[in-house]
Symmetry: D3
Subunit: 262 residues, 6 copies
């Protein structure tokens, strides 16, 4: 089975950058996948992507050696299993707020006896190899989003769930859950402290940790405090940012354009 | 943030007509949105529309000032939040039969601390404005469908749920729940009485009320008893009706065509 | 091979009504095909339909016994042959203004030695039967649009082209070509006279004749002067018309909506 | 209402072959539906098909008299009801492991008072007829997948659920649940015994029984022990198999290609 | 009829920036259209966009007041007319190398008696208004690409064609036609001279002039020598550029990603 | 630039097998591309594929090292250039019947000064490398279909056109052009003689030669007389064939299904 390069890199102590896809299109996905990110995540939660578009996007990512991940819209077995069968090498699951939710999530990703995933890796076998079933439980990543005060309270329990590989911090949701404005690259001290606590606890449990970031500098900071991987903006934001940088130089009255909301 | 014109109109005592989209296409959506309806609802429950088609339909509606609503297929957080992120200004949720279901529905629509909506208004910000997060909880409509005897029994509790803006009567489901044939524009007395009770209770709770109708005359009647908004047929039915009106004049043997089932 | 019911009906002196599809969607196509029209035309010229959507629309029409026709965007061999391979039982070709154009059109539809159609009826065989090749040249309809003064001038020559089955009048284009406003159901005398001349000439050549109409009454008039088939509006127009009829009864200020431009 | 031919055949003691669609495309669906299978199942669980593609596939199947079935991705009311409204004549529901799950499944398929299906058969009425509502509860098939040891333990209870029409054995999942390799056409004795027990129990309850098979010979065997219907491979597998059979005869070094994983 | 804001601006001596869309998606189109460009061009020639995707993109652009333009794949009447019917307010036509080609192009865009455009503005009327036909010939822009030595030689003749509104320089094609490497923002003197000659000749003919550019500074230079409008890169390039700028700061070994080829 | 493996293999005297895609879907394309064919051709002429579907199919092929080819619907510059920009490494052009047609075809594929291809390899550069422009003229294959008696008569002239790399025999069209039934794997002596003449003439001109075949044995025969590459059936036929082989063993009355028409 094709190895999960993320596991290899992280186990070797390397830090990785993750691309984020919210535009439901296989060509923009291919452009992003070609840029050199170690992984590319198709965002089915806040992105405008649904399962049908994700197929072409997974194929586009498969033209490169970037590891394909999917953030599912919710902790629901149907879409988790469909994404895996289509070839995702890891699932980022939003809003894991309790041990039970973490267990349910892991169960959807693992074949028996470790979980309850149903068998039918229709495209995954083409991407991964004929021995997919044999190695899938040890290859595919389970990454639980920690993004609420409830999740913070249950963090030890969540991290103790067998089969959970790691976590992913959603800083905007974490912020509003704590009464702060939704923001990436947080500098509000309580949220910064919470992120510090998440990374410390996760590393104590020897799990992988990632976080969504809005700048190169914040990624460097997050790598510095122990995160293994970090997402750099998103396709939609990069597109709006580049136009928003250049256009005001040409239009006296331009405000720099309207940004996308995620 | 772009205001929700429906709230303004209803608060001013105006009655509105809602268009209903079951054809999964952005062009038919644009045709309907151009006709002057105050709101246009994309029906992901009984319509043949799923999330991917809804994006183009929301964009088509956004070429007009009709308020875009989405009826979700079920009371499930994933699709509710995805629809809002894509720019829906209100959610009609089917089969709200208890206080707990109403609370879960409202929670999916409201950001913390009022609910549990996850942050990521990727297209909503483009449609609504950069201050979307600040005003979304007061702008986006939560409309619970009352369409079973269980819902009737729990009506007071449902209407008391904080953050619920109003209700939407599904007359066909209400009818079969009460042992009557599924029908819009009901004249069966028990169903008529139930609708009367719904509007009376809703108005006592000072919430907005709407109902699905099959004719201009029934809409007028419903407006007369207090409903704020009413749906007029659907795109699919209008298309079949117009052909079904004209064709028999040309084909002696024609039965007037086959109607769509919703 | 499945017979072309239009040929049978017309040869028996029957008049037929044709549906017109400009919405690029298989569900609206199925609704229209179910209504009892003898034929259904997918409009790839002015409709928003292109080849990819036409496949699903042809399949939808194939759930009924309505005869599937395609109006191609232009007299171009590629799209004519693709439409036939996908199962169209007749081609309406716009802007046939000369004998040479009519010959080129017919050649694209007929297999050698009558024409130059390339062999590969990939879906047509499923729709029509395994003996498609044997009978296609006698089954598939070639219908040339007569819609300019140039076409009027060349009418005898066009109608004399071997393999041309009939004509289809485009009244709006014919009108503007003659200096009149683009309109269906023309009453401007010069255009009325031109239409009369077209039907007289066509019938003298013993070819089939059709025309695009905007009302039941005009279809009856056209049938009366000899036309074999007539199109009744279009899906897009029917949808806008029905909403435009009903909505003003509910909205004092409504203008009746905005019509589609074709 | 159009009868459900599967019920007729099975009640007459006939055995049927089911086609399985994992390629999300209406043309490959039409090819399969044309081959003579008594039923065709759109696989939304392990197939790469989601609801939007299923519409065109259902239309393609409707060009034939094969009975259209849908395997839903999970036991979730939204997608079950949407599939029925789109015209599915039966639902195969994965992972029914308890009486409660079977009841929930049946409830989603049946209109009140037998269940909680919401009314809106938008395309189903076109496929089935205007009296769809009247007969749907007796026509549409509810087929629960038995594919875990939990399901085996609850088999009597599951089969006793009113409104459940039959079962469908998923041999790969059943195998891994029992600690065996995921495989169709099982010869491992414990799994063979389990299948025997399932068919015996199902037939004692006078319910319909089906199973997913990978070969003609295994289907014959399954028919022999009492199964009413059996699935023969899938579109994706057939495509890979045929290429994999022929290509090695031309390429000395070819391994026969890579198979799809389901 | 909705005015063509480009004509207004250019006639007032304003310079405009044009966005360029090569990603076939309505959401990336909406992001670009929201940024403040005065016009947005859907590139059906070198972009991965074909007519079906262009519909949703035109709708997305219609949510703003940016003027929608289409670059067609070739000087072919079918696609030019389809694009106009779908609501394009201007056509950029590649490879206009002679007077005859310019005349054919203009003829496809203008209704009789000025040209041969066929009538059927199905969506254009919704975008532009009910009086579309009356004003279209004076509103819609015809922009001929000047991008070969043949076109240079025929420049006076091309610019003299009645109904041609302006030109658009394709610097990469012009470069290779002149034996230079394909490049935007040319500094090779012969190509620079050719561009100077094009703008001088165009302005002498009092036509509008535009050019494709790869940077803000080159746009300023082009505006300075008389160009009315200039394209700033493209959606695909902006996306690749932004990722290519940021990623190398995080990946020591990164080469900055792979650029798109246009 | 990524080399064109077909040129390498053929120049080394190797024989290759080509897959043929008529199903407009990226997943069936990926299945076929994974099987080990040296090249995979997307058939936009008789296949149900149009440009939009071809993008995803090209991406799917790009997950393997099979060489992606496109058969265009007609000898038209727009679609030839679009297919190349999307990453096709060769164009098979139907109905090349004269020297002029061959020259026009070659011109559309070659950049100046060898031809008139417009510059904009938007996706081709991602597939091939940053130096695409430099090597494209020597890498991309031009394969003219020889499939009529006119082409036979002009064969010497066609093969003498500079820049033409080879030919592809369409046996069905060649057959009907010669008055025989359309058939692959022809045994009718006049057609067999014609094929012999084509291969002899092509090899005398030192060009590559290919042919469409329906069986392994015929491919071996064609390789034996000098053909470099041969197509083995198509995806649609393989799917229908496999079902058609197996189903009759289970259905006494089955005729073996209905075959696709190409």
């Amino acid at each position: 089975m094709r190895e999960n390069r993320l596991r290899q890199l992280w186990d070797a102590g390397e830090k990785t950058v993750n691309a984020w896809l919210g535009i439901p299109n296989s060509f923009s996905a291919e452009i992003m996948a070609q840029q050199g990110f170690e992984s590319v995540t198709i965002d089915m939660q806040h992105g405008l992507v649904d399962y049908p578009a994700s197929i072409g996007m997974l194929q586009a990512i498969s033209t490169t050696d970037a590891v394909p991940l999917v953030r599912v819209p919710w902790n629901e077995p149907g879409i988790i299993m469909k994404s895996l069968d289509a070839g995702a090498y890891g699932i980022i699951c939003p809003m894991i707020n309790s041990k039970a939710e973490a267990e349910a999530f892991v169960s959807s990703v693992r074949y028996p006896p470790l979980g309850s995933r149903s068998f039918g890796p229709i495209r995954a076998t083409m991407y991964a190899g004929a021995d997919y079933y044999k190695h899938a439980n040890n290859t595919v990543l389970t990454l639980a989003m920690i993004e609420t005060t409830d999740a913070m309270a249950a963090l030890e329990d969540i991290l103790a769930v067998p089969g959970l590989d790691g976590i992913y911090v959603g800083p905007a949701d974490l912020s509003i859950s704590m009464g702060h404005a939704p923001r990436m690259d947080q500098e509000d001290q309580p949220v910064v402290d919470a992120i510090q606590k998440i990374i410390d606890t996760t590393k104590r449990h020897k799990k992988y940790a990632g976080i969504h970031c809005g700048s190169v500098s914040y990624i460097k900071k997050m790598w510095g405090i122990g995160f293994d991987y970090a997402t750099l903006l998103s396709d939609a934001r990069m597109l709006a940012m580049k136009a928003g940088e250049l256009l005001p130089e040409l239009q006296a009255k331009s405000s720099g354009g309207k940004g996308v909301g995620y």
